[in-house]
Amino acid sequence: MGVTALTCRELVELVTDYLEGSLPPTERARFESHLEGCDNCRRYLDQMRQTIHLMGCLSEESLEPQVKTDLLKIFRDWKKR
């Protein structure tokens, strides 16, 4: 049985499975062979990687100062006990 090629529309729905390493080997091969011949899908995959990278830059979101003060107070009171 011949393996049908993925369309771009199908590929974008498999991007997370691909990045998570959860595509079965044959699906992974289909995915990668489509990518080889498709600039647009390579660009889409890059965009997704860049989106993930940007989210990683958000992780150090700082606490509001008042919240930080409250949490420190709890810690100090707790230590005194």
């Binding site: 529309r9 991007v15 660009r43 965009q47 997704m48 860049q50 958000l58 992780s59 707790w78």
Partner: protein
């Protein structure tokens, strides 16, 4: 914020959790990862508090994969129609290369603010998964354990969430051109 109605209560819960962690630490046996253990204390307190506010809903009812309509990662109109003889299902409106834009713009504070806003606009279950995975760097397995999700459902939630954040960034970058 998944289990309680507003930010003030969420902050209360965070404080209670902090205290719970300080008190419980001597009894922490290291059977689970520390962050998973802290997360459990947090969700337990949030659920208790949520029940008191009679707003508690189990995680699973936020998201029933069977009940939800399909959400394409990219709107269908971005692709050629299935019966388009030239390019069925291929990009009609092509994605642009973000790495060709100046780094100052890509990594600008405003770009990050857009990402933040896109995440905040997600449905709670998607927001929870993407925050733990992509902001806090948890593994898929840790998220499945902490939220009691199957691997597949974790992946579907992550997929939908990431697709929306990418789309939000794309329209932001397009606007600024």
């Amino acid at each position: 914020m998944l289990y309680v109605p507003d930010r003030a209560i969420a902050e209360d819960v965070a404080q209670e959790t902090w205290l719970g962690v300080l008190e419980g630490l001597p009894r922490f046996e290291g059977r689970a990862a520390l962050k998973t253990w802290i997360f459990r204390i947090l969700t337990n307190r949030a659920k208790t508090r949520g029940q008191r506010e009679s707003r508690s809903i189990p995680f699973s009812t936020f998201w029933d994969p069977e009940a939800e309509p399909a959400e394409p990662a990219v709107p269908a109109e971005r692709f050629g129609a299935p019966d388009d003889p030239a390019s069925p299902g291929h990009w009609a409106l092509q994605p642009t290369a973000w790495n060709e834009m100046p780094e100052e713009r890509f990594l600008a504070r405003e770009t990050l603010a857009q990402v933040q806003r896109a995440i905040e606009a997600l449905p709670p279950s998607q927001r929870e998964v993407i925050t733990l995975r992509d902001l806090d760097g948890w593994t898929a397995e840790e998220v499945c354990n902490a939220l009691e999700l199957s691997e597949t459902n974790q992946r579907v939630l992550l997929h939908r969430a990431r697709a929306k954040v990418r789309r939000a960034l794309e329209s932001y970058f397009e606007e600024g051109k």
